[in-house]
Symmetry: C2
Subunit: 133 residues, 2 copies
């Protein structure tokens, strides 16, 4: 399931960037085609990594959200981020990475807290992985 080009990026956007809607993923800059995006979202739902919710006040829109199983991927994503940074496949500044690495546990706790509280502020001020995570 995670063995494709887009799924982990979607999960990352949900987890650390606070993205929720189809449109946000689509415009995320990575350039995923809408048919593929729809397909990946559905597959992630099928394996219970994400779920959907109605948006109160706009019946066109849907909010995607990580499930418990989905948020449990946080350690993986964090390690991948750190790895990418260490080996320079990221645009995250070195200092930020060192912080993340030194405070692994609290970063993970904060990530989970944000999820629970539906806090949509980006976890850190934007980082990107060039080619794949």
């Amino acid at each position: 399931m995670l063995g494709d080009r887009w799924s982990l990026l979607i999960i990352r956007d949900l987890m650390v960037r606070g993205y929720r809607t189809f449109k946000e993923f689509q415009q995320a800059g990575e350039g995923i085609a809408t048919n593929i995006l729809a397909d990946r979202l559905q597959k992630l739902i099928n394996v219970d990594i994400i779920s959907t919710e109605q948006v109160p006040g706009d019946r066109r829109s849907i909010h995607y959200r990580l499930t418990e199983k989905g948020i449990d991927l946080a350690p993986v994503l964090l390690d991948l981020l750190i790895w990418g940074a260490r080996h320079e496949e990221t645009s995250a500044p070195g200092a930020v990475i060192n912080q993340l690495e030194a405070n692994r546990e609290s970063v993970l706790a904060e990530t989970r807290r944000r999820w629970k509280d539906r806090d949509l502020t980006p976890l850190i001020p934007k980082f990107q992985k060039e080619n794949e995570l």
Copy 2:
């Protein structure tokens, strides 16, 4: 680079199972086609995650080995294993997983030690992830 069906499995086999040769990967049970295997190995070499060495005493054979960058993926793989186990996509017994989780740091240290020393004994007595890691 890691966003495909096979690359992480190859890395895992190198890291925790002690596989080294083309043939070992091919027979690993996951059923990768030889053309794809050759392609993935080459791509992993290109991004400096693995490297090759001559086998002394058999000039037909080649040993693949993780680079420093490759072994640095250990935390990612370990977390992915733990995640898969927690959400039942693994055949690793629960007790083993709990051990891995509780001793994360020492497991990682041991993994790195095995790599340095070229210790080929499997890290734990075989575990598999059903569909993708």
